[in-house]
Amino acid sequence: MAHPVLSVRNLTIAFGRHVIIQNLSFDVPAGNCLAVIGPNGSGKTVLLKALLKLIPYEGEIQWSRDARLGYVPQKIAADRQLPLSLRDMLAAKASFLKLPSREIDQICAEIGLTQDLLSTSIGHLSGGQFQKALIAFALLGQPNVLLFDEPTASLDELTEERVYELLHSLQRSRGMTVILVSHDVSVVYRYADMVLCLSKGKPCMGPPKEILTPAMLEDLYSAPPKYYRHVEDRQKGS
């Protein structure tokens, strides 16, 4: 097994007396894609924010020394009316990290953001373009670990498919480690090497084929297996 890029030991996150995650331990090997699933309120976004050290936690979160993190949030509460063009946004990060400005053009070319879009106000970008912009933002600085929090929430199916294809090709071409929060079980099944299930009971982790069984999903989401039939079908087909 590749060396772990991330080791989490006895992680506990609580807001006041409300415990969200308790005594969670897991490792993520370098180059792997870990999907985090679980019902609403199970702490998926909270886990990502703790991994980024954005919120207080107890326990140990240990990134390998060479880990450079990129983060694509679930949604941006930013005012879309801000007088910021896409280039302004990317240039601010590049300037803060003292990166050469050509890196902006390289990344945008790689993920299909045109020069026209770069000079467009962020408020005028479509949902898919905005999501690509966030991915470009995350890729600045050559990260080797990407954390995605439901990167396709509120996108139509076709755009969602394109975004996941983009993520997958980036992961393969750059050999990146990906930690992905997703509600879409079929996406998790297709792209993840390992799945971490967060639930009110005991969290579990394993390869998608072992974790994404109808019985497990029914238990996790408290919903009948018919909603996850495609998973069963995939398992039969594999």
Binding site: L69, Y71, P73, P83
Partner: protein, 257 residues
């Protein structure tokens, strides 16, 4: 025009430049209400200084910076949505200021005055203005990132709380420079109005900063000229703000948003 008055006009123009830059981020951070509160925080200090007969700017600066730290703590602990708390600070500062300021000095404290300034006063104002302009230029990227998304900014390595504190202090310093001729009621108006006007005309950050500063400079210059030639009021603040508001109204004719 006497030398002291010329220095006052020059300092007013420097204030305009700083206000135009600072206002852009105040608008982007949606802290227009907080801005108003910050400028009013000077009033109790001005009042106490008038009452005890010492330099009003020292009193104003003391309560301004103490109050700024209070507003920053409120924002840090509760977020700007806690406008009720900010409203309480605003009302309290205004009430304390009105209670302690001698009646004959209240109008000057609220709307500023047109008295000439000393060379020392000018140089202190010049240093403060340069500090404000330099801070905004150096903080531009951090501010843009934290305005866009505090989480993304933090994940990028920006200390958002520290950037907010520095910004609040820079804002207060700008208000302090403008206090003499704009007063506590109108100093923050010149920070907000040119930025609001520029927002209608631009879509890019660099243009936004440039246009806002230019509008602010034009407003102050036109305010002084109009006041000297036409209105002849004892303070120039209202004329500057009326002209600035007029430009804001005109900007609707060519808005891009």
């Amino acid at each position: 025009m006497a030398g002291g008055q010329a220095l006052l006009v020059l300092l007013a123009l420097l204030f305009a430049l700083a206000a135009g830059l600072v206002g852009c981020f105040a608008l982007m951070k949606r802290m227009v209400l907080a801005s108003d509160v910050i400028s009013h925080l000077a009033l109790p200090g001005l009042g106490i200084a008038y009452l005890l007969k010492f330099n009003p700017l020292i009193g104003g600066a003391a309560t301004l910076f103490l109050g700024t730290l209070l507003v920053w703590q409120l924002q840090k602990k509760t977020g700007l949505a806690a406008d009720a708390s900010i409203g309480v600070v605003f009302a309290s500062a205004l009430a304390i200021g009105a209670a302690v300021t001698p009646r004959e000095d209240l109008i000057e404290a609220l709307f500023g005055e047109l008295r000439s300034i000393s060379l020392l006063g000018f140089f202190l104002g010049l240093v403060a203005t340069l500090l404000v302009v330099l801070s905004v230029i150096l903080l531009k990227d951090r501010l843009a990132l934290s305005v866009f998304s505090p989480d993304l900014a933090e994940a990028t390595g920006v200390n958002v709380a520290r950037v907010n504190l520095i910004y609040f202090l820079v804002f207060s310093l700008t208000v302090l420079v403008g206090l003499r001729f704009m007063g506590t009621l109108l100093a923050s108006a010149l920070i907000i109005l040119p930025a609001a006007t520029a927002r209608h005309l631009t879509e890019k950050l660099s243009h936004f900063l440039l246009v806002s500063s230019a509008i602010s400079l034009v407003s102050v210059l036109a305010g002084f000229v109009l006041n000297a030639l036409v209105l002849r009021l004892s303070t120039v603040g209202p004329t500057i703000i009326i002209f600035s508001a007029l430009l804001f109204a005109l900007s609707f004719l060519k808005r891009t948003t």
